[in-house]
Structures are given as structure tokens and as C-alpha cells.
């Protein structure tokens, strides 16, 4: 049995408290901004101006032209070494991230028309960058040598098949366009779960929960009275995030607001239910925030596929990602931002989120206390 007046009274009270509490307002509106700017400007998975050492054992004009081609690329800032030993020392000292060794028979081989073997030494300490450098350097070498060969032998000599790549949805292949939408999932996990459970736990600590429980209020009213205000707050933050992404960071937004609200609503449904559940069990602000960080923020951060490719994870971990709604929500976000309203895809993802949401809701309602 729900009495609308009681429920609205609870929601109104919650709003008043949030707007009078600077720390809650910061979590709700400032934190999303900080996160989105961090993801937009601070974090980039693209490697640009990687310091690349080039050991030119061959000092012919051909080899030099390759060096210049590398240096001119925006991906590398090339550094010249006369021999392999010096370049390796530079790699050891961390002056360069990778070393490309051009052997002394390089130009001779090129002239002969055989793609000469060049050695690439990569600093593998940062595996991610190492992989990118390796790919870029290989590609640069292949491209340069192809061009060079064409120049030497004419168009008919090589490359009968000309592979032309076209990237759709994110033509610049900018990681920002993919990270910024994904960051919304992390922000909403913070607001939905962390803020909700901290606020409820505070009521336990201050003793207001005891007074409220002693009124004729029902379990469902208590649950909804906590969930709805933070659901709406989260939705506001999501829209704020989308607006900043679109108008400040210039990330394309090809889908509709409706689809965005629909997907975000589903995700928030899980996040807030989880927040209420945590606070019903923990009742202590410190503990509640720890549990929220471990059970919501970190998994959503690491297992959502925003930062780390899910397909690259071990199989067992991949299975676990299915349990977290962020996985589905990130797909929705990236689709809505980059591709547009692909309803068949969105509905499937949102359906999965809804299933998780129903489980959390049922658990949260069952755990909503009527007694101390």
C-alpha cells in the first residue's frame, strides 16, 4: 500500500537535503564534470609523438628519407642514433620507447626490390603503448617501403591488390569519442550507488531513520522514497554529461535524447537499487562507501569495456562482466553517440540491464528495514 502523499513528502525531503548539502551537490554535479574532463582531455589511448629511436647503420639517402618520413609522422618523434648499441642504451635509459634498427644493407635491399628486414626493439614495460608503437612502426615501415617501391618500379610492379581502409562511426579513430560516452556509465555508478547509499547511511547515523521508521510508513514507500530522488538526480547528471560531451568536447551525438534517457534510466534503475540495498545492509557511511566503491565503481570502471577491451580479458573474467550492467550500458552509450539509434541493439542491451535491475530491486525491497 502506497500513499502518494507520504511518498512525495519523502521525496521532497530528500531533494531539500541534497540541495542544502554541498557535498551531495558536488557528487551529483561537480564530479561528473571532473570525470568527463579527465576522460576527455586527460586520458587518451592514442599514442602520439612517441619517442622512437632510429639506429641508422645505413646512412644512404634512402635510409635518411625513411627516417624523415618517420619523424614527420604525428605518431612519432624520431631520434637519430648512429649505431645499434647507442640506441639500445637510449632504450635502457628510457630516453626512447622503441628502437628501429635500419641495417647497413637497407638501401641495397630496397633497390633490389626485396623488403629488407628491419629490427624493432620495443620497451614492453607499458604493454599497451608497446603494442601501439609496434603496430604504428610496422605500418609506417610497410607504407614507406610500398611507396618507395612504387616510385622505383612503377605502379604495376607491386601491390596488385590495393587495400583501402575506411573507418566508419569514428573516422578519426579518436579514443576520446569512445571514452567520453563510456565515462557516463562510471559517473552514473557513482551517483546512483555511492550518493544514494551514503545519504541513507547518514540517516542511520544521525538517528533520523529511527524516527522515520516509527511512523506508519511502509516498506515500499521507504524504498521508493529513497530511490526516486536519486534516480532523477542521476538522470540530470547523465544529461549534463551528454551536453558537455557534445558541446564542449565535440563528441558526436548521433542518436536521440529519447534513446539516451531510456538507456540511462535503465542503468540508473540498477545503480540506485544497489545503493539502497547497500545502505540497508551497512548503515554506516564509511562502510557503505567502501562497499559501493568495491561493488559498483570499480567493476563498472574496469569490467565495463570502457577502458579495457572485454574480448581481451580471460574467459572467466569475460563471464563475470555479464553480471554488471555497465557492460550493456557502455554498448548503448557508444552506439547512441557514435552510430545512432540502433533500436534492435539497444533493446537487447537494455533488456539485459532490466533483468539485473529487477533482481537488485527485489533484493533491495526485501532488505528495506521496517525495524532497527
Amino acid at each position: 500500500m502506497i500513499r502518494i502523499e507520504r511518498l512525495t513528502a519523502l521525496i521532497w525531503k530528500e531533494w531539500l537535503q541534497v540541495f542544502r548539502d554541498p557535498s551531495a551537490l558536488m557528487i551529483a554535479f561537480l564530479l561528473p564534470l571532473i570525470m568527463i574532463f579527465l576522460f576527455g582531455y586527460g586520458l587518451s589511448l592514442d599514442a602520439t609523438s612517441v619517442k622512437l629511436g632510429v639506429a641508422l647503420e645505413d646512412s644512404s639517402p634512402t635510409a635518411r628519407s625513411f627516417f624523415n618520413a618517420l619523424d614527420a609522422s604525428r605518431y612519432f618523434s624520431a631520434r637519430y642514433y648512429t649505431n645499434r648499441a647507442d640506441a639500445e642504451a637510449g632504450l635502457c635509459d628510457g630516453d626512447v620507447r622503441a628502437v628501429l634498427v635500419i641495417p647497413n644493407d637497407f638501401s641495397k635491399r630496397v633497390e633490389e626490390g626485396t623488403l629488407g628486414p628491419a629490427q624493432l626493439l620495443v620497451d614492453g614495460a607499458d604493454a599497451n603503448t608497446a603494442l601501439i608503437v609496434e603496430n604504428y612502426a610496422t605500418a609506417a615501415y610497410a607504407q614507406w617501403s610500398a611507396t618507395r617501391l612504387r616510385e622505383l618500379r612503377g605502379l604495376d610492379g607491386f601491390n596488385k591488390i590495393n587495400l583501402e581502409t575506411r573507418t566508419i562511426y569514428n573516422p578519426e579513430q579518436s579514443s576520446r569519442n569512445c571514452l567520453v560516452p563510456g565515462s557516463t556509465a562510471i559517473v552514473l555508478a557513482m551517483i546512483g550507488t555511492l550518493l544514494t547509499c551514503m545519504v541513507v547511511a547518514r540517516e542511520w547515523e544521525r538517528g533520523t531513520m529511527e524516527a522515520t521508521l516509527a511512523t506508519p510508513i511502509g516498506r515500499l514507500e521507504m524504498f521508493l522514497g529513497k530511490m526516486i530522488p536519486y534516480f532523477l538526480l542521476g538522470l540530470a547528471a547523465a544529461l549534463e554529461n551528454a551536453a558537455v560531451a557534445r558541446y564542449v568536447l565535440g563528441v558526436p551525438f548521433r542518436g536521440s535524447i529519447l534513446a539516451f534517457v531510456y538507456a540511462s534510466g535503465a542503468f540508473l534503475f540498477v545503480a540506485t537499487a544497489q545503493g539502497v540495498l547497500i545502505s540497508s545492509v551497512c548503515r554506516d557511511q564509511n562502510l557503505a562507501s567502501q562497499v559501493a566503491l568495491l561493488s559498483s565503481f570499480l567493476p563498472n570502471y574496469i569490467l565495463s569495456g570502457v577502458l579495457f577491451e572485454i574480448d581481451a580479458m580471460p574467459k572467466a573474467l569475460q563471464m563475470i562482466t555479464y553480471l554488471f550492467p555497465a557492460r550493456y550500458y557502455v554498448v548503448c552509450l557508444q552506439t547512441i553517440f557514435m552510430a545512432g539509434d540502433v533500436w534492435s541493439l539497444l533493446n537487447r542491451q537494455i533488456g539485459c540491464i532490466a533483468v539485473i535491475g529487477v533482481v537488485f530491486c527485489a533484493a533491495a525491497i526485501a532488505k528495506t528495514p521496517r525495524r532497527l
Binding site: A9, L16, R20, R206, G207, T208, E210, A214, P216, R371
Partner: protein, 572 residues
Amino acid sequence: MIVFDSVEKSFPKMDRPALDALSITIQPGKITGLVGPDGAGKTTMLRLVAGLITPTSGRVTAFGYDTTRQTRRVREILGYMPQKFGVYEDLTVVENLNLYAKLRNLPRRRRRERFEELLEFTNLARFTKRLARRLSGGMKQKLALACALITTPKILALDEPCVGVDPLSRRELWQMVRSQVDSETIVLWSTSYLDEAELCDETILLNDGNLVFVGAPKELASGLKDRVVRVSGVSAETRRKYVSELLLRPEIIDATIQGSSIRATLNRPFRPQTDPETLFDGYSVAPTAPRFEDGFIERLGGATKRIFGAERRAPLTTRNDENVVVADGLTKKFGDFVAASDISFQIKPGVIFGLLGANGAGKSTTFKMLCGLLKPTAGDGYVGGASLRRSPSSARNRLGYMAQKFSLYSDLTVRQNLNFYGGVYGLAIRERGEAIGRALDEFDLQRYADVKAGTIPLGYKQRLSLAVATLHSPDALFLDEPTSGVDPIARREFWNRVNQYASQGVAVLVTTHFMDEAEYCDRLALILDGRKIAEGTPDDLKSLATSGERPDPTLEDAFIYLIQRGRNEGGR
């Protein structure tokens, strides 16, 4: 009516039930006091009535509704005020009222009228737009009361509404609740102040989860008719010693200091012809009216009979005629807020000095400045001649501090705690060993010596705190609300120990909100809104409030009078 039918309530990790086989019927039309020290079971009873917890066995019914199975029905007729403020601090007065009106289904058309009534009656009409956070402790409690009363409940359950509230607000709260009692209302009022019990129509006295007494408060004391006497004419120097001597006599079951006289309870009626000579060494003795507390002590078997306090080992570093503790214009500001303003007093050796005031009045701030825990904005404090500003660590070394909450290491054993603090106070190994052995004997801590401090009973924790504070034989002892939460027997024992230290010349500074404890002090300072508004002996303060209509005021009367005078002078 409310019926407790052989109710037992146990909590996990507690060695004994919070309430043990309680059967009791509470009738409407009166204020029923649930009286007892912390942990006696008062809050447990109230929460059982509100259905906030369920009994382990037995049954609680309120007006025929089972509080476990028909919780919502019970809550519809209940007004409940928890011990921590039940009001939302971020909401204004009127927003709080509105919230509770809606939560309790007060029909919209009746709200306006009811709000006006309650605001008028709680004197909060001027503050409707003020955030509850900015109300004083007394006003917050009145607001919480108004919220609980919003639907004129049939059961009004109030959990220690007067804790930390100044005596004036306390008196007003009583009047408010009194005016709400009609023939159909049950008022449950829990309190740990035994003097407050006397204001109730009916009392349920609990100790350690057991029922000690049920009935009108007068009945508890009436058994002691002609057995309570007042001994006067004992000089201030010998008074404390004399109390402990009296306690050792078999005929005497209780003795305490009350201002300049001594209050004693006998195990038989007082014999005016012979007793003054044979039992009271020729002092003038007159029978006096027994109090609720006297009855409680008697029911619990009388005060502990033994001599407390061994000989002091280290001589005092302060000379006899010097002030041990000096507060010289201590002022503390937090931003715009003046927590303490120009507070000065001096404490001579052997004097027990009481600092009184409501929560938030500034007594803890003053206290913390004198302990060197808080740096004064202006003014200075001295302990044993050392300035807290210039040489705080040597000042701190001359004082023993006992914090309000148990602040020792719960995970260390009693002995490890003593050892650690002995080290902190700079006692050499051999000296420390002796001091610890002495403390364990003197405070009866021997049997808990190797038990973790967090798990020993509350009374023993308090003893351990005092043992730690006195380990280095300090010149001054600072006690911050030392007896809150312990039963009256343990309180007697505690004060007897403190008296022992005082008679060895230690200066004692104590804060308390128990009025009867204020009577144990030699001098008192009353703090209101950060200012000291009066200082003197308990009898001095009482005489200030003496008037034609009030020839023999109690200390509480005196405080109310002084608070009103202070407020008027404060320009309000």
C-alpha cells in the same frame, strides 16, 4: 494500555539479555518513567513498544495490537522521539513539521491549525524558517517533541528527551508533556536522571535488564522514611574523609556530600536522642525527606563499603597555597562563532571544581583548551604553573585526563593499556611496574588484567580510565562527564575515589549534567552561551536564587534562575 508479557530481549554478542523476563502493564492517563542507568534496558523497552525491534521471547501489546505482528497499527497511534535527535537537521522547523504531518497522515485541513498550536506551545513560532541544525539543543528537543505530537498520539514514547538540555528547557519540556496527558494517553519517558524520576506519576526502575521497582516514585522512597539524615557542621577539610568513614559503619548504607552537609541513609530508623553522639560523632544531625535515588541505592544493596585510594607516592609539584589550575580569559572562536568567551577561574589544591552547562554551552571547549587539546584564540591556561600556550607538554604532564567516551585501546588488555600510558607519561620501567601493580589492586582490576579492555563491563572501563588518568600521580585531574552511563552504586564508588584524590591535594575539574553530582563539588561555574554567568560554592549559588516564594531552592532552581538572569543580561 501497554502489556509486556514475560518479554526477553537478547542481542547477539551480549553476555546477558538486555531485558530479562519482564512482565508489566502500563496504564494510560499518566507519565510513566522508565528509569535506570545506560544499558538498563530503557531504550530496548521503548523500541519494543514501537515495533522497531522484536522480542526474543514473550509478547508486547499496545492497546490490543501486537507490536510485532500489527506494527503498522501500533505506529499509527504512536509518537516516538528517539534518543538521537529525530529531526532532520537540513530541514527548517516548518519543513520538519510538514514532513512528519504527511508521514503520519495528518489530514491536510487540520495541519495549519495543529502547526500553529504546536509552534505556540513549543515557543518555536519565531523560528519556523530556521534550519533545525541552527537550533539550540533545547529547541531541537522541543521540535522533536512537536513532531512526535503532531497527530495527538495515544502513546508518546520519549527516549531520554532531557539529556544534555539546560535545566530551563528541561523544565519547559516537562510542562509541555504534562499538558498532553489525558485519561487515554500513555506517556513513556525514559531517563537516567534519578531526580527526574520523581516528576513521573509512575516509575519502572530498571538495572541491568532487570526490574528493580514499579510504582509511584514516592513509594520507592517511602520505605526509607526516618532513615535519611543530613549531617551538618563538618568542616570542608574533613568532610570527604568523614564520608568514607561513615560508609564503613555497619548502620550506614549510603553517604554523600550535599553542598556543605552530608546526606546519609541508615539501615534502621534514625534515633534522634542517641545517634548524633554514638553514630555521628556529635555533629548536628536532622532527618530529611528521602529521595528516589536513596531508594534505588537501598534496593541495590547500599553503597560499596571499603576504603578507596592508596597513599600517594609522588609529592605534589604545586605548593599548597598556589592555584593548580588557572583559566585566564580563555576564549575560543570558530569562525564567527564564539564557543567560549573570556572564561576565567582558579582551582586550588584539593578542590573539586564543577563546570556546568547544557550541551553546546561551551564547557567542553573550555575543558579542551585547559587540556591543551584546543588552542585558545585568546587568553591562556596554566596547570601546575606551566602555561598551555608556551609549554603545553609539561602542562599536560601534570594533569590526568579522563575523556567522556571510553577512549582507551579496546584491543589491548587492561595491563597493556596501563603499560602504554605509563610509557606515554614517561614513567621509568620500574616505577611503571609499581604504578601498574598499585592501580590493578586499587581499582579491583586484577581479574581483568589480561582481558581486552573493549570487552570488560562499563563500570570497569570507567575504573580503568580513571586508573590510567592517575597513573602518573598528576597534580590535577580533569574528568569530562565521567559518570554518564553507570549505575548509582558505581557512581558512588567513583566519587569516593575522586574524593580520595582531592583529599590528597589533587585539584579536580569535572563537567557533569547530573544535578546531584554538582552538589559534590566545592565550587561550581555555570557556563551559558559561551560565557561564565556565575561561580561559587553550591550553597552560594542556591542563596542567590533564594526569594520569598522560594525559601529553600534546589541547585536546579538556582540554575534556572541564573540562566534566566543571564539571558536577560545578554540582551535578549
